[in-house]
């Protein structure tokens, strides 16, 4: 009986390890930063683009540690969706598994629908929205803003 229990336990642990090793996250925003530390003011290690998939290495509250070609880094959970990956689908290789989901997500209210809306609503000022979207803030600018204002962030929301 003990042997059976041991075998079940071992199988469960092994399954758990394999399961954890194949967990991935897929980027659901246009572009995100994968950072060296689990906070927004840390330097960027790599970029993650919409639809890219990364292997999960570790989790800490709202942050997910992922593997990239440049090494392991941290991405905030609001930039990714979680999906378990079957070993037969290529493991944790980037871009292998969530393409259909991302393609489906690209349907819906999309540029094609916006273009139709624009034709019917010429007073809507999309050119000004495009300019607004180009207003970027570098991490260096955010760091300087925090430093100059003697701000001590208490962390991101949950």
């Amino acid at each position: 009986m003990k042997r059976v229990l041991s075998a079940v336990l071992a199988a469960t642990l092994l399954t758990g390890v394999v399961y954890a090793a194949t967990e991935t996250v897929t980027v659901i925003v246009k572009k995100t930063s994968i950072r060296r530390e689990r906070q927004f003011y840390a330097p960027t290690l790599a970029e993650g683009l919409l639809g890219e998939t990364f292997a999960v290495k570790e989790r800490d509250n709202s942050w997910v540690k992922v593997g990239t070609a440049s090494g392991d880094g941290w991405v905030h959970e609001s930039a990714v969706t979680t999906k378990k990956v079957a070993a037969s689908s290529g493991g944790a290789t980037a871009g292998k598994v969530d393409e259909r989901d991302v393609a489906n997500a690209a349907k819906g209210f999309n540029p094609q629908v916006e273009n139709e809306y624009r034709k019917k609503n010429p007073t809507a000022n999309f050119a000004a929205v495009d300019r607004m979207e180009k207003l970027g803030t570098s991490n260096a600018a955010a760091v300087a803003f925090v430093r100059d204002g003697h701000i001590q962030p208490r962390g991101a929301g949950k």
Partner: protein
């Protein structure tokens, strides 16, 4: 609002959230937990989008939220002109990014964007996905950086709590989701595109009318204030800026005013609720002189 269906993969998250909700929580903490749940639903929606399971606004994908937000922003920018002031624009946008990083949704599909509108009207708007507008009139009401933090954090709260998307009439989404449920369709036929655009247009009208004309419910405004206090505190600001701002605002509104004063509860009522959240959730903070001095350079008074 019906709860969205969850996949099995999310079950542990929901159990954990449920356990937390079962514990005693303050009003502010509850708001945060609600916001966390929103993020979970939001992320899950991308997986379900092709499966015709979607029921309501909570099932909109981040990309759909973004395109709705762009169109609402285009409506606002068709009505108001951006302030031609590069220095203050950069200041406001950087400030907004710092605050958004402390929100429950630091990352949205297209990112957060903040600009000033060139009008004396005292008002602020937040379109879905993170397009935030503050009028010159409202900006000029702020006496300190802590107060402006409260204004921006309140608008961030409307986005993270998805108040704009909640204004969309359910039948519009039902129609859109029915069209989108046909997985075999790779591009829309002219008829489908026409139907989908009509649903999109109707959704934009619903959101814009709620934001600009009728206003959110009192409960939603109080929730956005509670979220603002938490966001400001987490970002490193003194949440007392919220109550100070509301006290200053109280002296400005008159009965019959348009804009902000017609679409928001009385400042005195908001002040009392916000003060209660700050006290109960122990959101004490300091106002550093460096920030007050910095704001003096960018103030419009």
């Amino acid at each position: 609002m019906k709860p969205a269906r969850r996949t099995a993969a999310l079950f542990p998250v929901i159990v954990a959230a449920g356990a937390l909700l079962g514990a005693p929580a303050t009003a502010g903490a509850f708001d945060l937990l609600k916001a966390a749940g929103t993020v979970v639903q939001h992320q899950d929606a991308i997986v379900k989008s092709g499966a015709a399971l979607r029921k309501g606004f909570a099932d909109l994908t981040p990309q759909e939220e973004y395109y709705l937000g762009r169109a609402v922003a285009a409506r606002i920018l068709g009505q108001y002109r951006p302030l031609d002031d590069e220095g203050r624009t950069v200041y406001l946008n950087t400030f907004g990014q710092v605050l958004a990083r402390a929100s429950s949704r630091p990352e949205t599909f297209g990112g957060w964007h903040f600009i000033l509108l060139d009008t004396d009207e005292v008002n602020a708007f937040a379109a879905p996905g993170g397009f935030v507008f503050v009028t010159r009139g409202l900006y000029g009401t702020c006496a300190t950086e802590e107060q402006l933090a409260a204004v921006l954090a309140h608008e961030i709260g409307h986005v993270t709590l998805r108040h704009g998307l909640g204004a969309i009439k359910n039948e519009r989404l039902t129609e859109a989701f029915t069209i989108l449920g046909a997985e075999a369709v790779k591009t829309y036929s002219p008829a489908q595109l026409s139907q989908l655009t009509a649903a999109f247009e109707g959704s934009i009208n619903d959101i814009a009318n709620k934001m600009i004309v009728s206003g959110y419910s009192k409960g939603q405004e109080f929730d956005a204030d509670a979220e603002a206090a938490h966001v400001a505190w987490r970002a490193g600001y003194n949440p007392a800026g919220l109550t100070e701002f509301l006290a200053a605002l109280g002296g400005r509104g008159k009965s019959g005013d348009k804009g902000f004063f017609s679409t928001h509860p009385q400042p005195a009522e908001r002040l009392a609720k916000a003060a209660a959240v700050i006290k109960s959730d122990k959101l004490a903070g300091d106002t550093d002189a460096a920030r007050t001095q910095r704001f003096a350079k960018y103030a419009l008074r």
